[in-house]
């Protein structure tokens, strides 16, 4: 091996690629493509199911392409009032929770990004924020407390408890720490107070990190289902994922036997489930590339640098 490489050196600066290396590159590309396919195929399969006829779906003919193409499943979803009511609850929840969460994260991360000299009492706050990260009351005490607050059956039960995502605060705090201090000092000399500096100097610079925590907030609220089931009294108040949990999963996660499964396969709601799954996924697919540009940068800068 070493001899060969010496030869390469003698031939000049251009590095020759050995045949083993070429073979590895081909294998590597093939393998990575296969891995990517493995991530997408289950989703594509469900998409194909949603466009297939119930018979084709239940008889297992559907692979990655629809069989007996039909829009019946989507027509069912469009007509399904429960689905859209739940969709509306989720949108309302997002509309209230995401802006509030972002404001809270932003204004909380800023003082914490200052060091002990610049912000007296920072140490107290870090301990105060650490404890909820490490320790919680648990399911029943939380439920009892929220019940005392009168939040059960109220959409605010899905919003208020999650307004301070501490890991996102830390992410933004780390991001702010890495900003050049001179900018703020310059603004300070010009007479800008901390609040003014925060919104005019810091805000434009933290866009990648804010985009990252916004993506987490949006996806988090879009995806959360357990709080809806726990804190809402009635299925009418369920957000979309809680509704889907009860409508598309409950049949098999509670009383499942091999026979039931066989029976379920002959009932034609298999394709409508697939369609609901897909419709519920679309918003994430739309939001995702929009944030992705900032996302890797925000995440890496905010989390890795300690």
């Amino acid at each position: 091996m070493l001899k060969k490489n010496k030869k390469h050196m003698e031939t000049g600066t251009k590095v020759h690629v050995s045949w083993q290396r070429k073979l590895f590159n081909v294998f590597n590309i093939v393998f990575l493509t296969a891995i990517s396919a493995l991530c997408l195929l289950p989703l594509i399969h469900v998409l194909a199911l949603s466009f297939s006829s119930p018979f084709a779906a239940s008889s297992g003919q559907v692979g990655l392409f629809p069989v007996d193409f039909t829009l019946e499943a989507y027509k069912y979803v469009v007509r399904n009032a429960d689905f859209w009511r739940a969709f509306g609850v989720t949108l309302l929840r997002l509309a209230i929770a995401v802006p509030l969460t972002l404001i809270i994260i932003f204004i909380t991360a800023y003082p914490l990004s200052k060091n002990e000299q610049k912000f007296k009492g920072r140490k107290f706050y870090t301990v105060f924020f650490m404890i909820p990260m490490l320790f919680g009351g648990g399911l029943v005490p939380e439920y009892m407390t929220y019940m005392k607050y009168g939040l059960i059956g109220n959409i605010w039960a899905l919003i208020l408890p999650g307004l301070v995502p501490i890991s996102s605060v830390i992410l933004l705090m780390n991001f702010m720490r890495d900003l050049p201090a001179e900018l703020e000092e310059a603004a300070s000399i010009d007479g800008a107070g901390p609040v003014k500096r925060l919104f005019y100097v810091i805000l434009p610079l933290t866009v990648p990190a804010i985009a990252t925590v916004a993506l987490f907030a949006i996806v988090g609220h879009w995806n959360s289902w357990f709080d809806g089931i726990l804190y809402m009294n009635h299925p009418d108040q369920y957000p979309l994922q809680s509704y889907l949990q009860t409508s598309i999963l409950t049949y098999d996660s509670r009383t499942l036997t091999q026979k039931d499964v066989a029976l379920m396969q002959t009932v034609s709601d298999q394709t409508s489930r697939a369609a609901q799954i897909f419709v519920a996924t679309v918003p994430v697919l739309i939001v995702y590339p929009f944030f992705q540009k900032h996302f890797t940068k925000g995440l890496v800068m905010g989390s890795v640098k300690g």
Binding site: N5, T108, F119, F135, M144, I170, S253, V284, G306
Partner: protein, 309 residues
């Protein structure tokens, strides 16, 4: 401290104003944390009571450690604990090995477009909820007509009831979790790999090091720190086997191998209304996690210079 303040008195007025502004900015999140994190913690006293909602925390009778004694003598608690540890530890290990390997392989590809496409696709599943993914997996793992069993059938293998088989269930949880998360977990490793000093590789090539030697002497040492850090930080999750995932896919047939602490707490507390017992389980879990997290963060600080705040 006092001396310092006095000597700075000339500039102290705007400084105080700034301090007040900082405290004011902290206020909303502190109030929210008190209301929604700290106050519920007091509910933990339920674990030492025979709590009934009608009597409330102040009226329920105190039973000392009875709930804990009952808890540790329950006949399925050992099994639940074993399931939790088996699933959680396997997930922790795979969620390091798979993303690191994946990142190393992806790092060898020079075509930026290919790299970005692969990344975008592989971390998409991370953003889909377990409700959705459970729907997808129930579908493709179905013993009658599911995609996976169809493919197995093609090779002459009898259908496997993945989600209804005691042996398969925990492993399916581990594999599907890794499937969902590896792309996302790989982000930090890829970032670490791209920040390895490229001139080291050039120097190594000039010295005649082959690819494997470069891998073992430059690449791996370059990401060692972050791998250790991520490993240490994941130790705190050793009792978190993944409630969202398991709750959405399990069923009474696989309770024996699939029931974990969090699902157990849920069934005790919400379905069986054993409030005190459920809270006792939560408390034990919280304390064990707390100890592990504190230890792991101390280790992270010591070995990787990592500080959360």
């Amino acid at each position: 401290m006092k001396k310092q303040k006095k000597s700075r008195k000339a500039v102290s007025f705007p400084a105080i104003k700034t301090q007040m502004a900082y405290h004011a900015l902290m206020l909303p999140s502190c109030i929210l944390l008190i209301l929604f994190s700290y106050i519920p913690m007091f509910g933990i006293v339920m674990a030492f009571q025979n709590f009934t909602p009608a009597k409330g925390i102040f009226g329920s009778e105190w039973v000392g450690m009875n709930n804990f004694i009952r808890l540790f003598t329950m006949d399925n608690i050992q099994q639940v604990l074993f399931n939790t540890l088996y699933i959680a530890i396997s997930k922790i290990v795979l969620d390091i090995v798979v993303p690191v390997t994946f990142a190393l392989m992806l790092n060898e590809v020079k075509n930026r477009f290919f790299v970005r496409s692969v990344q975008t696709i592989t971390y998409l599943p991370y953003f889909l909820s377990w409700v959705i993914m459970a729907g997808v997996f129930v579908e493709i793992l179905s013993p009658s007509g599911g995609l996976v069993n169809n493919i197995l059938g093609f090779f002459g293998i009898d259908p496997i009831f993945f989600l209804g088989d005691k042996k398969w269930f925990p492993n399916v949880m581990i594999i599907t979790d890794t499937w969902k998360n590896f792309g996302f977990s790989a982000i930090v490793y890829l970032a670490a790999l791209t920040s390895v000093d490229q001139s080291l590789y050039e120097a190594a090539r000039v010295d005649g090091a082959n690819y494997m030697q470069q891998m073992f002497h430059i690449t791996l040492p370059g990401i060692k720190g972050i791998v250790i850090l991520m490993t240490v930080l994941s130790i705190g999750g050793i009792l978190d086997a993944g409630f969202d995932q398991i709750f959405n896919m399990y069923n009474p047939i696989v309770y024996e191998t699939g029931d974990v602490l969090d699902t157990f707490v849920y069934r005790l507390g919400i379905k069986d209304m054993a409030f005190s017992l459920s809270t006792a389980v939560s408390l034990v879990k919280s304390i064990v996690s707390l100890i592990l997290i504190v230890i792991s963060y101390k280790l992270a600080e010591k070995f990787a210079g990592y500080k959360i705040f």
